[in-house]
Symmetry: C2
Subunit: 280 residues, 2 copies
């Protein structure tokens, strides 16, 4: 991990629990926290921390606010929907030339977020991944809970990890599901929860598993900017994996955030699922 | 294409229209046709050809029947559900040793079908792909209908083809959907129709396409035994692609069967979709 500037971390907060987890973990690590809560996305729980609400399409206002609070370190976290093309163009038009806007808009969601990161950096901010200010959020290597994968699951983990590595350059999913050496699904833009729902239907209706239990394998995409799109699991992932008949979850060590770690592990142990970090 | 034995072709017919297409095309090519209709799977339309009904778990009976009709050339076509492990074991136990049965059963659906092919070959049959007795079923290179892909679609076809090539060794899907350089889905065991249904929901609810239209890209898996699992499209694929907002379908030239070709092309033209064969 690189050395980070001193002072408060500004957390630009989209939806979900992740921004609050980051805020708690960063605060626990002794860093002051200031939340820029994106209106329409961020949880109202942000009020537990110093915060302002801001519009995601007002980057100038966000930057002015970060400056006013002397924040030079910024983390992005939580979910946002991609704004439409006109909205994106209007955001960037104050800062970028026409060719660069076209490039940013042609490149998919990651590209828009990469544009946001570059804009913050051009304004002198240091943009970091949530895990850099809150490394305790990351799954490490080895078993997180009480249950360990068996030899069959280890084979499926190896197969899934190899599959994810081979598609990583296509900017497609961060997860797949494997059962008994057979790939049951590859995550697309629908996300991990929907992938697990699909697998639950597949094993009920189409695929006979002959006793094999599926394993969810999750890893960051190669070359992915982990400041803007870090894979994450949480208690809901455990519930979905249980409903899909999974044996457990395998997470690339130091590449996946565990949201609400204590509850996630309690739920996994109760459901009889392993949660393990694998090294690639 | 290799030289095939003279005489009738026996078509072991699972569900769907493909076995009938094969029978029609083989008959049109001047070859006598004899259909072994798998009970519970095969269409009742098989009665248009010389046929018997047989149980998929009675390979000895099927082989005896092929012999009685002096059939030495066999094609497999149509859909079957994988029988349960006990049923598979009982089928193979008369012909195979315990280790080989275990290997066959551990390997997924293709493995079971590969076992069937080997069993037929050991009995002196020549097992061929449907396209070998009916090459007119294959999509060739270039546009099948009146509509051609534009430059954007060509880029998506190239991306999808590269993605499929990179996952081919994992025995996962034979298709993916790409829109504006973004992968919207990779086919799993759910099949192409379900993939297109998923994309239809994605583009309605989750993914903003900014005017990009998805392209379905379909190709055989590398090392796939094309005698048992040839990718196919048909009129229903066109309807699903239309519902998903697709611009068109790209098929690996000479690697994908077009079921009901005339109707498929009429429907594609009417829907404004291209159907094109690409060379890899």
């Amino acid at each position: 991990l690189r050395a980070l500037p001193d002072g408060a971390v500004g957390i630009i907060a989209g939806g979900g629990d992740l921004p609050l987890e980051v805020a708690r973990a960063a605060a626990a690590a002794g860093r002051a926290v200031f939340i820029i809560a994106l209106r329409g996305f961020a949880s109202r729980q942000v009020r537990l921390f110093p915060h302002i609400f801001a519009d995601m399409l007002d980057p100038a206002g966000i930057i002015a606010c970060l400056r006013a609070h002397d924040v030079r370190l910024v983390a992005l976290g939580g979910t946002v929907n991609r704004p439409g093309p006109l909205a994106v163009a209007s955001v960037f038009s104050a800062f970028r030339n026409r060719d660069e806007i076209a490039r940013i808009m042609q490149g998919g969601d990651d590209s828009v977020l990469r544009g946001v990161v570059r804009m913050l950096e051009d304004e002198g901010m240091t943009v970091v991944g949530a895990h850099e200010v809150a490394p305790a959020l990351l799954a490490g290597a080895g078993d997180l809970g009480a249950i360990a994968p068996d030899a069959k699951a280890m084979n499926d983990i190896a197969l899934g990890a190899a599959l994810l590595a081979s598609i990583a350059r296509f900017d497609v999913g961060q997860a797949c599901v494997v059962a008994g050496g057979r790939v049951l699904g590859v995550e697309g833009p629908e996300g991990t929860d929907a992938l697990l729902e699909r697998v639950a239907l597949l094993v009920k209706r189409i695929v006979k598993l002959d006793g094999d239990r599926p394993v969810l394998v999750k890893a960051p995409k190669t070359g992915q900017d982990q400041r803007i799109d870090m894979p994450a699991i949480g208690p809901r992932t455990i519930a979905k994996a249980l409903a899909a008949g999974c044996a457990g979850l395998a997470l690339a060590a130091n590449g996946v955030i565990v949201i609400d770690r204590a509850e996630t592990i309690v739920e996994a142990d109760r459901a009889g699922l392993f949660v393990t970090g694998f090294s690639t």
